[in-house]
């Protein structure tokens, strides 16, 4: 007997999680989405049809067995649910918050044919948060293998590889250049979308598994990749991410008051400037703030600026809302919070005062052309459409390119256009025993896709280290 959709309206409508009201939340850095209560989670889990051929799993870059964990929630077996998620995903509390589920698992949900998909992200978050509240149960890994692997970069990719290989019994050292682990999860994504305690708790879990964590270690400078091998590591994973900010290269861009989104967010998130002067890293936010770009980073910057007291925050994007790469939910949140959107507008130059502070910018209107082969719509400026906009803070959020230091300092490591490290389908690089994953291998992408590539690389490293044909000495 085939299973048909129950024609109940609640089966087609997702349970909404509570949120902080916009007028309240723009005055704090607390989380916007509050997550499910147990009752809400159970109701939502009940909507899941537990399909025979679940398409949601196909949409998950790390292949979480979604219907199984949802069924476990339904049975109130929350420990079982989180264990099921952790089988495939080492950072569930993080992914439950920042994954673009609407473009992945939830997009494939069969319920979308007639109604709203299962809120897979919120259910994942529910199980993960409950685990954190109860205290994560960690059994240290049995590091029975005598082989050591160096993991470079403690962002989503590095953390994933570290856990996967530690669980396979390898001795792992995780090298992080900054003073704390998490990568973009701590320097990029704001507290109100991803509280730092959540990231810290996942990192604690990883160190309790037996992974050695080494901060303040910029590989390429303190040790080269070659030196890691001479120090006794038999394989190296590079997950150094895309952290080099792009600038517009228009006149006046180095005036005071113009930040890369990276600088702005590093000051706010990593250095906690929002508590200045308690935390000692200052950040100047003016009255009229303009953010340039249309991605999640642009929205995060704009919403931070709003919370830091700006009177008027505008996002300038050269295409339209339809082309914005940011998550739909975050665009809606920004809208609710009173962020202005100026579409089809591009900056031409910045104008400074006598002290070198930005005071205005010149913009030009753009028009969309037809789609190209890749489906992306190009834009072209409209002649004589220049305008002057008064601003005192500008945040440039037009993308980031791979961190270049390892590429500069590693002889024989092949790179590709755009600065990414070249690798094959298993994420093996041109150097024996050296693997990559995350943004350094693919260019700027999402947390979960970085984790997906990292899983593939971890598996390849395991194959490499267990293959008697390779050169590693045991």
């Amino acid at each position: 007997m085939s299973r048909s959709l129950t024609p109940l309206p609640n089966r087609l409508k997702a349970v909404k999680a509570a949120k902080q009201a916009p007028n309240i939340r723009i005055k704090n850095f607390d989380e916007v989405v509050l997550g499910y209560t147990e009752e809400q989670a159970l109701t939502e889990a009940t909507r899941c049809l537990n399909c025979k051929d679940p398409q949601c799993i196909q949409g998950c870059p790390v292949g979480v067995e979604i219907p199984t964990f949802i069924a476990l929630i339904k049975q109130k077996n929350y420990t079982g649910a989180i264990e099921k998620i952790r089988d495939r995903n080492s950072l569930p509390a993080i992914c439950g918050r920042v994954c673009p589920q609407e473009a992945q698992c939830q997009k494939n949900c069969i319920l979308t044919k007639q109604g709203e998909p299962i809120s897979i992200g919120l259910l994942e978050r529910f199980a993960a948060d409950l685990e954190q509240t109860n205290g994560i149960q960690v059994t240290p890994c049995n590091t029975s293998r005598d082989k050591k692997v160096a993991v470079v970069g403690a962002g989503p990719a590095g953390l994933t590889v570290a856990v996967d290989l530690a669980k396979l019994g390898y001795q792992i050292t995780l090298f992080e250049a900054l003073h704390c682990g998490g990568g973009v999860l701590v320097y990029g994504i704001p507290e109100f979308r991803l509280p730092k305690r959540i990231v810290q708790s996942e990192i604690n879990y990883i160190t309790q598994l037996g992974v050695e964590f080494c901060s303040d270690a910029l590989i390429g400078r303190i040790f080269t990749i070659e030196e890691l091998f001479t120090k006794g590591y038999q394989a190296v994973f590079i997950g150094t991410g895309a952290g080099l900010p792009k600038f517009l290269s228009v006149p006046g861009e180095n005036l005071n008051g113009i930040y890369s989104a990276n600088e702005f967010l590093i000051r706010v998130n990593l250095m906690k400037s929002y508590t200045f002067p308690k935390n000692k890293t200052p950040l100047k936010v003016g009255k009229k703030v303009v953010v340039i770009g249309g991605g999640n980073v642009a929205l995060d910057s704009a919403r931070c600026a709003q919370r830091l007291g700006a009177k008027e925050v505008s996002i300038i994007y050269r295409r339209t809302r339809n082309e914005m790469p940011a998550r739909q939910e975050e665009i809606e949140h920004a809208d609710e919070e009173g962020i202005n959107f100026r579409y089809l507008t591009a900056p031409l130059k910045f104008i400074g005062d006598s002290e070198g502070n930005v005071k205005a910018m010149e913009t030009i209107a753009m028009r969309l052309s037809n789609e190209d082969d890749t489906g992306r719509r190009h834009v072209a400026p409209i002649e004589n459409s220049q305008a002057i906009l008064e601003v005192d803070t500008v945040i440039v959020a037009i993308g980031r390119t791979p961190n270049p230091i390892i590429q500069y300092t590693t002889a024989g490591l092949k790179t590709e256009q755009g600065g990414i490290i070249a690798s094959d389908a298993s994420f093996k690089t041109s150097l024996e025993g050296v693997y990559v994953g995350g943004d350094i291998a693919t260019g700027e992408a999402t947390v979960i896709s970085a984790m997906g590539t990292a899983k593939t690389a971890a598996n390849a490293i395991h194959q490499y280290l267990t293959n008697p044909q390779n050169k590693t000495q045991t």
Partner: protein, 289 residues
């Protein structure tokens, strides 16, 4: 008796060089093994502290230590200055930045002002070791503020001094000394200018007409110091570069010093908010060499 084991990032020595300048030595074996002239580290003293860049002024591979000379001109350097021997700095990351490009140029002139002398010393030392004739010009406001005079004298073929008030060496600026040496037909194959941006800018203007290759060590504001934030961006030959990963040394004739000086002033007011009361009201000197 067994010496207690040192911990990473522990302060092993602390010295007051003059009324405003301190030297701090830290146990950092991995950094000491790698450090080269021109490189810097990022310090984060406590949990709530800023990340601040400080050039490595000397290192000792035997003792596995690195030393930094600094003035307590802002909150973070004061915080560093309050540390006593035995205490630890929470985070020390380095060595960062590119090392100075040192080879036998022939005759090298090292022009340094104020705290820049601490940055210039390892450069001058390596220049000497590479076989250069090293002529050093050191400047400070007044006699008491000179540092590393003996050390510089030991590795220089000639040393000249200039002070604003004439209490040591020539009355005036290091640039005046450089001009007079050039007038005396000294030939320089390379110049290193290390000090306040205005000084480096003036030196670049003096050497430009003589086509003397001149290297400046830039000191912009940094946050991560690893190429991620772009706070340290400088314009070199019309192109934006990051001092932390592309520098900190650049061709002084190509540096937009006016922009560098403006950008250094970005956070003067905020600095006053966190600084201790005894220096309130003084002019902000943050991020000057």
């Amino acid at each position: 008796m067994l010496k207690p084991k040192l911990e990473i990032n522990q302060v092993t020595e602390k010295e007051q060089l003059n009324s405003v300048t301190k030297k701090i030595t830290i146990y950092a074996p991995d950094i000491a093994a790698k450090a080269k002239a021109g490189q810097f580290v990022i310090f984060k003293v406590n949990e709530d502290s800023e990340r601040i860049p400080l050039t490595i002024s000397s290192w000792d591979q035997e003792k596995q230590t690195i030393s930094h000379i600094f003035q307590e001109i802002g909150f973070s350097t004061m915080e560093l200055g309050r540390l006593e021997v035995g205490q630890k700095i929470q985070n020390v990351a380095g060595p960062l930045g590119n090392a100075s490009e040192i080879k036998n140029f022939g005759t090298a002139v090292v022009v340094c002002g104020g705290l820049g002398t601490a940055v210039a010393y390892p450069v001058a030392k390596e220049l000497k070791e590479a076989g250069n004739k090293v002529i050093t010009i050191m400047g400070a406001r007044t006699k008491e503020l000179f540092i590393l005079e003996k050390e510089m004298a030991a590795i220089s073929d000639e040393v000249y001094f200039a002070s604003d008030d004439g209490t040591k060496g020539q009355k005036g600026f290091v640039s005046d000394v450089l001009k007079s040496l050039i007038a005396k037909n000294y030939t320089f194959n390379i110049a290193f200018a290390i000090g306040p941006p205005i000084m480096m800018s003036v030196i670049a203007d003096i050497t430009r007409p003589y086509s003397i290759k001149t290297i400046a060590s830039l000191n912009p504001i940094m946050v991560d110091g690893m190429g991620m934030c772009g706070a340290c961006r400088v314009t070199i030959a019309g192109k934006t570069q990051f001092a932390c990963v592309d520098g900190p040394e650049f061709d002084a004739h190509q540096v937009n010093f006016k922009e560098l000086i403006q950008r250094l002033k970005s956070y003067c007011n905020e600095e006053k908010q966190v600084i201790t009361p005894q220096v309130n009201g003084e002019n902000c000197q943050c991020h000057g060499h």
